[in-house]
């Protein structure tokens, strides 16, 4: 019997204050696969990501995590399911009052681990994976943007989730740090074999990590396929996105 896909979405729609954010999304992500969701700002990428882990409820449609339907489940019923899926937030969402070590140890502690040595060893390993050894006692406020992303990533991987959702992992970072984050995502996927879903509008990030790419436009999937197929597409909308063309001009119109 073949295992169910890690994540699947069917007919997902979301309407907020009369505005249609998602318009019938159908998607499947296999075990160990990396799907990159790209699209312009406001196309519904982050909203869709939050639906995948039940942080938002859809207007209609279904979401399955490893074959289990999560739409309609109460918050408390969702909690154990969410422990199999990690999420890295766009703003990192590190707990301000906790040090780096405490932030990374948090999922372990909440999972019931009380052995201090075991926690310390796992935290050290996670920080080593993201190249942040030696920064354990720093508070998030004293970290750079790139370091915060790494801590957020360490906090996700320390719990060994089956799947990781990344919301704009390279947003606001310089090209060098962005490149190191891209390598990190790939390294984590290879090392732990996790399924990854990456929301981004950074084409370099997509090129680096994607097995498959979904191009979201006005709340619907406009393109789905391999990254090379996306790049080869002659579709003007996709071409404009890849080339970063807005269609605006520098000259003022007269008259």
């Amino acid at each position: 019997m073949t295992p169910p896909p890690m994540l699947s979405v069917a007919g997902l729609t979301k309407t907020i204050d009369g505005q249609h954010i998602l318009r019938g999304i159908d998607l499947q992500v296999g075990q160990g696969e990396t799907l990159v969701i790209i699209g312009r700002s406001g196309s519904g990428k982050s909203v869709m990501l939050k639906h995948l882990i039940g942080l938002m409820s859809p207007t209609s449609g279904e979401v399955f995590i490893e074959g289990r339907q999560i739409v309609g489940l109460k918050e408390r019923a969702l909690l154990p399911i969410r422990k199999t899926v990690g999420m890295m937030f766009q703003g990192c969402a590190l707990f301000d009052a906790m040090t780096v070590e405490e932030n990374v140890a948090f999922p372990l502690y909440e999972a019931g681990e009380r052995n201090r040595e075991a926690i310390r060893a796992k935290v050290a390993e996670a920080l080593d994976v993201v190249d942040l050894t030696g920064h354990e006692q720093k508070l998030p406020v004293n970290l750079s943007g790139g370091m915060k992303k790494r801590v957020a990533l360490a906090r996700v991987v320390v719990a060994r989730p089956h799947c990781v959702l990344y919301d704009e992992p390279t947003a606001g970072l310089d090209p060098v740090v962005s490149d190191s984050i891209n390598h990190l995502i790939r390294r984590l996927q290879k090392r732990f074999g996790v399924t990854s879903i990456v929301v981004t509008h950074d084409m370099k990030c997509a090129a680096h990590v994607a097995d498959k790419v979904a191009f979201l436009h006005e709340g619907a999937i406009y393109f789905y396929g391999a990254f090379t197929a996306l790049m080869a597409s002659r579709d003007p909308l996709i071409q404009d996105f890849i080339e970063g063309r807005s269609g605006d001009t520098d000259s003022f119109s007269h008259g």
Binding site: K50, I53, L55, E75, R76, L78, L79, P80, R82, K83, V85, G86, M87, F89, Q90, G91, A93, L94, F95, D96, F106, P107, E110, A159
Partner: protein
């Protein structure tokens, strides 16, 4: 028509607000019953909301007791009833002033801090991060604060009442010259253990109310810094108003269990 619509929408908002509080209360009770309590967080909150509120509460209690004793003396002196000042101050501090003033001060200090902290966590996605890691925000944020307030508030009320009575005695006896023997005798004659029980019971309920109002405002905060500011203001204003309203009903109900008078 306009007036009717205004009354209707106000009533609707009130019921909706009370519904939010009730929902949070039920979720907290459910958490207390079904989920292990995070005692480390609760202890940290006792330090934060209880221990660190003492100065504010003690100053409030001391000066309220002192000024109340002085005013009572000024009135009673004309009637040659100054020996009754101790009884009036003690009964008032126990039954009304101690619990209400402690409640209002804690609503300002602790309620504001709670709603600001939780509200900031909400708008910076830290609450979503908690949920994404399989942790219910009520279990992690509300219940430890609830336990801390249930323990701390009666103690704070006790301190406020105690120092209020002591300050009142100092003013009446040392500054106004009321004979200490009469002052203490009448105070003890007109107060009983039930007055202390009423004070502590009120403190307990006010503590619970402050937590739910503050946490509810924090949990529903939105729209960034402006939203957090609004949540903080609402937590203090609603917390203070509801304490005054609840105090009336508590006084009526608790007087059945702890009747006033000799």
């Amino acid at each position: 028509m306009l007036l009717l619509r205004f009354i209707g929408s106000t009533a609707l908002s009130l019921f909706s607000y009370l519904g939010e509080l009730l929902f949070l209360m039920l979720e907290s009770v459910r958490s207390l019953v079904t989920t292990p309590v995070r005692w480390r967080l609760a202890l940290r909150q006792i330090l934060e909301v209880g221990f660190r509120s003492q100065l504010v509460v003690l100053v409030t209690g001391a000066f309220t007791g002192a000024v109340f004793a002085a005013q009572t003396y000024f009135q009673f002196h004309r009637l040659s009833m100054e020996t009754a000042v101790g009884a009036v101050v003690a009964v008032s501090m126990f039954r009304e002033l101690g619990p209400v003033l402690t409640g209002l001060m804690v609503a300002g200090r602790v309620g504001a801090a709670m709603s600001a902290e939780i509200g900031t966590m909400k708008v910076t996605e830290q609450l979503d991060a908690l949920r994404a890691m399989g942790v219910h925000p009520v279990d992690y944020l509300v219940v430890p604060r609830l336990i801390a307030m249930m323990i701390s508030m009666p103690i704070l009320v006790g301190e406020c009442v105690g120092i209020g009575i002591a300050a009142g005695q100092f003013v009446a006896v040392r500054l106004m010259g009321v004979p200490e023997v009469y002052y203490v005798t009448y105070m003890l004659k007109f107060t009983a253990l039930r007055d202390l029980e009423m004070a502590l019971t009120k403190g307990f309920f006010f503590g619970v109310l402050i937590v739910f109002v503050a946490c509810n405002e924090g949990l529903k905060a939105k729209e960034g810094a402006v939203g957090v500011g609004r949540a903080t203001t609402d937590a203090v204003v609603m917390g203070s108003l509801l304490i005054l309203i609840l105090n009336f009903f508590l006084t009526m109900v608790l007087n059945i269990f702890f009747p006033a008078g000799i």
